[in-house]
Amino acid sequence: MSAGVTEAPAPLAEPAEAVPVARRGRRPNPRIAQMKRTWYFLRRNTLAMVGIVILVIFILIAIYALFQPIPWTQLQQECASSGLYPPVNGCLCTYSSGTVSPGPNCYQTPSGYPSDIAPTIDFSHGTLGPLPLGSITTAPSNPTFYNIYAGLLRGSDWSLGVSVAIVGTGALIGLLVGAISGFFGGWVDEALMRIVDIFLSIPQILFVIIVIAVLVALPVFQPFGMRVALLIVGFVIVWWPFYARIVRGQVLVVREQKYVEAAKASGAGGGRLVLRHIIPNSVYPIFVQMSLDVGTIPLLLGTLVYLGFPVFPTIYFPEWGSMAALSVYSGAGASTFTDALLTCQFGTCVIPWWQFLFPGLMLFLYAISVNFLADGLRDALDPRLRR
């Protein structure tokens, strides 16, 4: 037979030439090569680059804010100490029947008209307006104004931190559940997927709300730190099913692949199959979903706060979503941004648009940049869309 084999060593021509990466150094480190490849496809996507740039800026801000002594901490301590919760008009200047009892950081504007505190946007002495950092005033039409500059700074690391924590935990649980149900199949799969269906059929926002609304009563969650924990718990409970479903779908595909069978044929156990073959080949879709959700969650936080729901211990909690929502806070009795709009529509008074606009813009920028990045990632990771 060997006579028939005209195996010239040379002409094992490298189709690998197709890949630019492989043609560089003689033995490129493949992992790096693959990262380079992904990065290379990411780089060709302008939107993704924009997203990355904005995100980097936000992260820098967050780092900067960490080392900035900003009075908001003081605020929240006082809020936490003063018993009233949820502070409808803020805990520092309790507003009752038209009169303001000044608190430490709180004073009456000369004429009491919000027009006096309309911002002259001037970042030179780090403020959005004539007020000193973190100071608070009340206006006759009774929304609580406060200097949002500090909050905007500080908000960056809260928004990022909370959402990353939530997504990370949720994805972990989802990965586990999905992998199990996909790999074992049978009744395990059935049961788990029914549960997932149940969780998914409750509208997410409502679900989060009812979970937190019930748990918030528990004494465990009273202290300040635990409130954020509660928030995270509430979201994770609602969030894991998405990841579980995605992972499971992917695992079902991967499980049928021949290389898994080959590993089985050479005696690989279940653990090895899952860890070495199935999970590595089915995580990528989650990455995309995760990056999307990191952008989505601050928005939902904002929505919760907007619905008048006390997620954070104080309505001055410097988180973009809640800041934006605060300014349109529409609880009962509380003066609302919307009311302000209604009353001010004939130009009799100034609508505190900056209170809403800047946090809103931050939120929007953050979310959209994350989405750009996620979209770019999807295209870079999915070879089908690439060509």
């Binding site: 549960i195 409750i202 997410q204 609304a213 929505t303 619905l307 929007f364």
Partner: protein, 402 residues
Amino acid sequence: MRMWIYIVRRLILVVPIIVGVMTITFALVSALPIQDRLISSFGPPPKNAPCGYSPVCPCSVFGLPQAGNCTNPLYQRDVNKLGLDSPVYVQWGIYIGNSLTFQWGYVDNHSGASSADSLIQGEPVATVLSWLLPYTLELAIFSLIIILIVSIPLGNLAAVYRNRPVDQASRVISFSGYALPGFLLGTFLLMAFVLGLGPTFNGEDPTCKAQSFFQVFYGSWPSQLCYPNGQWPSWLSKGVITTPTGFPTLDALIHGQGWLALDSIIRMVLPALVIAYGTIAGLLRFVRNSMLEVMNLDFVRTARSKGVPENVVISKHAGRNSLNVTITVLGLTFAFFIGGFPVVETIFDLNGVGRMFVYALLAPYDFGLIFGSTLLFTFLVVFANIIVDVLYAYLDPRVRLG
């Protein structure tokens, strides 16, 4: 024939899901303090009840001679009704039974935020929700229509004219839609109309003719003044709930108030847009991508090689196939879609179920309403999914016969 089997099976599959949802809510409810549970399931204690739902109170309150504390009979009775003194599975059974028979407790809303509070105070939750549901449904249908007529054609166009202005536009819409939650978009719109357009429309005379553009879009009904002799028509109780059907537009038509029907539709435009926007954003990408995939499939090539003109290829051969994907995705995103209602109804002050949910959230919470409306919304989602599946099976023979 097969179709019927499919539908029946689908309906059977719904039962465990609904029971499961109720179990989740049951788990949450049973985490509540007993007093709250009693209030939420039997409404506020009657005025003549001496000491509310407190388990024990001094016997003197009951006019009993002996001193010390006696157990509260009211408390006893209601605890028995809920089976709180019996094992968990009994409680679970009772809870499921009540939920399935729409006994969702009574409204105890002492926040006084709603103009309709005095109306709904102490009413059964299900009843109140049944008053409010029609408005929400009308809004939902309206925005669903918007979603479909925007996202499907736009998505297909974006796929056909890939990387060209249409596609870019769709991309912008979808990205911004991801990044704009309802309350941001809604408030932005309000700001736009007030700060931008409001002043240009302001006029002094108080009739609705002079109402500002903003006010026309805002709120569920025009002010009292806009009606013939300055007050609400009889069938419009406080401008909240209309009779007989509860669908504002429909009722207006029934009562022959054409302009009012038109008005109520106009007022639905902004809210519907805000609700639709997020869903459209989610849908567009899927429609586009699925259309792109379908256009590269073999059978499209076959159709072309048959000599079928391009527009027919796209609309008939490719479109029909990508429609399946679109419908599935719509079913998946329906929960998000429903979740937008509380926000929008709050922003635009519409008296729907979502608004009621938000009222219930004002401390002290009205758990009866909260859980009731959650269940209601969940039912909406579940049944929407059934409809979607059946539609899908109808459109795709492989599912129907498989």
